[in-house]
């Protein structure tokens, strides 16, 4: 993996008619990286991916791939593969012919074509399905055909649109392993789009969190999970207690709250996961409004001077019923320090 940018987007602005979907986006991706575009629907992640594929012409900005400016290069000349969320297999062609489609257009035929297609099908474990039509395959199998169809073209970048979202839990695990294996074996640069943070965290080398057509944070899964840069990212990765800092104090529903520890002066806010909240001791008081048992842990919803708060404790600890008043603390050293509060 080299450190120079393999795929780079510079000041990319994308629009549908008058609606700007992505504004001035800058991003560079290294060769062989597995990158996730993560964000809620409408954040511009799919739009950005489509512009990399060449299916959407940017309004302004530049896309370069492997040292060449491809902003104006047609989609069929880019060496970019895309595995569609719906798989988009050709229904009238067999699995073999689906995988052979692009190779035939390249002028391959005869035994060379056959061996390339066979290798592609073998790599996704579908050799025995070559003669079937897509309609005779399960969703997971169809997706693997779509993956093989893109991979036999040896693309410089492989894009995947929500690759795991249509699969059931067991297949999802399988496909995740499959994608990691393909990426490892071929070294292809992969970008996948997802709205599921779990998917992004478990699969990607680097995550690009997007919101409202702009990048909210870029980082490794550990960065994103442990050090969210903004309130939005914190919320997205499961920090459920998020507070802004105002004049060195936490802003809360009933006025600012003083914490025992001095607050970091360079943070715009602090965020705690429910299990970072200390329950049973501390300077604050809260009333239990509700509790949820989830096997290994128990989650409490508390009414506190800070507003509603979520705390999670080991289920082995004795349960508290609704209405009980409990002491709690928000340990500053455990909190994620947010650079931006939005």
């Amino acid at each position: 993996m080299s450190n120079t940018a393999f795929l780079s987007l510079e000041k990319l602005t994308l629009a549908y008619g008058d609606t700007v979907a992505v504004k001035d986006l800058d991003l560079s991706i290294r060769q062989g990286e597995l990158v996730a575009f993560l964000g809620p629907s409408g954040c511009g992640k799919t739009t950005t991916m489509r512009s990399i594929a060449g299916l959407l012409r940017p309004q302004s900005g530049r896309i370069s791939l492997d040292g060449a400016d491809i902003t104006r290069v047609a989609a069929n000349k880019r060496s970019v593969g895309l595995v569609f969320q719906s798989y988009a297999l050709f229904p009238h062609l067999t699995v073999f012919e689906n995988v052979a489609f692009g190779l035939r257009l390249k002028g391959l035929s005869g035994t060379e074509l056959e061996s390339r297609v066979d290798a592609g099908l073998k790599s996704v474990g579908l050799t025995s399905f070559a003669a079937r039509k897509p309609a005779e395959l399960s969703g997971g199998q169809q997706q693997r055909v779509a993956l093989a169809r893109s991979m036999v073209m040896e693309p410089k970048v492989l894009l995947l649109d929500e690759p795991l979202s249509n699969l059931d839990a067991r297949l999802r695990l399988e496909m995740r392993a499959e994608l990691q294996r393909v990426q490892k074996e071929t070294g292809v640069t992969m970008i996948f789009v997802t709205h599921d943070q779990g998917e992004a965290l478990s699969l990607a080398d680097r995550i690009v969190v997007m919101l409202n057509g702009a990048i909210e944070q870029i980082g490794t899964p550990e960065d994103i999970y442990n050090r969210p840069a903004s309130a939005f990212v914190a919320d997205f990765v499961g920090f459920e207690n998020i507070f802004a800092i105002e004049n060195g104090r936490l802003r809360a529903g009933n006025g600012p709250i003083e914490l025992a520890m001095p607050l970091p002066h360079d943070a715009a806010g602090l965020a705690w996961r429910p299990r970072m909240v200390t329950l049973g001791s501390g300077p604050f008081q809260g009333t239990v409004r509700g509790a949820a048992f989830s096997g290994s842990t128990r989650e409490y919803l508390l009414d506190t001077p800070l507003g509603a708060l979520k705390a999670e404790v080991d289920a082995a600890a004795p349960a508290h019923s609704a209405g009980t008043t409990l002491a709690f603390d928000l340990p500053v050293e455990k909190a994620a320090k947010l650079e931006r509060f939005n």
Binding site: G81, F84, S86, A88, L89, F90, L105, R149, M153
Partner: protein, 259 residues
């Protein structure tokens, strides 16, 4: 009446109503008598044989075939790209275009025929055969657009993008992945258009001239002069031809899915 029996009786009556005339025509066509009559007098195939000896029938049959095949072909050449554009792009006035394309079904044929005669053929001495061809193309176009649109709407548009990303051009993607998947819809549209055109009377009635006549019009005028069973024989033959076409279409395409 038994409640189970009632629907069966209704079904029988409706079927008899629909198919009855066909049996009467077939029976009348094998009559041995000299006039068109039911029940037939005697049994003979001489009127069936006569159909093939009447020269005007041969000529008007050729004309009708030419119009049905040519007109439907032209309607598809116009209709397939139109359907594609209407279903894939958000066109300005898309709904208006859809309505205009459907007009020939809505406007009575008599009016279309009269209008073409009065404002195209008469003032401009427009060639009647050409006018017939244009009229039949327009009459079939709504069916072509409707049936082809139905198959296009059942086809995901992302397969075209997939084809493009695999190296195909936009036009190539249309011919490689769209056309093969709407082929049965196109054939269904062709058959529907063919039958519509072949059976067309009101428009063709106005657009007839010396030596230019479609088969149904020719049969009408034949009957006005000669009231013999050969018209019944010809009708029966045409009905068998239509049944044959629909049967083949159903067998190979699952025709009924599209209409």
């Amino acid at each position: 009446m038994n409640s189970r029996l009632f629907p069966v009786v209704v079904l029988f009556l409706v079927t008899a109503f629909l198919i009855g005339p066909f049996f009467i025509i077939v029976a009348a066509s094998v009559s041995g008598g000299e006039t068109l009559a039911f029940p037939p007098q005697g049994l003979s195939l001489k009127w069936v044989a006569k159909v093939f000896q009447v020269e005007s029938f041969r000529e008007s049959f050729a004309m009708s075939m030419l119009l049905a095949i040519g007109g439907t072909g032209a309607a598809l050449v116009l209709g397939i790209p139109a359907s594609y554009a209407l279903s894939r792009y958000r066109l300005p006035f898309g709904e208006t275009i859809r309505t205009v394309v459907a007009l020939p079904i809505i406007v009575p044929g008599i009016i279309v025929g009269l209008a073409l005669l009065r404002y195209l053929v008469v003032p401009f001495r427009f060639n009647i055969t050409l006018a017939l061809f244009l009229a039949h193309t327009a009459l079939v176009l709504p069916y072509a657009v409707r049936v082809v649109s139905a198959s296009l709407n059942n086809l995901r548009s992302d397969i075209e993008e997939a084809a493009v990303l695999l190296g195909s051009s936009r036009a190539g993607a249309f011919f490689r992945v769209v056309m093969p998947n709407i082929r049965s819809g196109i054939l269904a549209a062709f058959i529907l258009g063919f039958v519509t055109s072949f059976n067309q009377v009101p428009v063709s009635l106005f657009l007839s001239g010396p030596g230019v006549r479609t088969l149904p019009i020719d049969m009408l005028s034949y009957m006005e002069i000669t009231y013999d069973p050969s018209v019944a024989a010809l009708s029966a033959l045409l009905a068998f031809m239509s049944i044959g076409i629909v049967f083949i279409a159903e067998r190979f395409l699952g025709f009924s899915r599209y209409v």
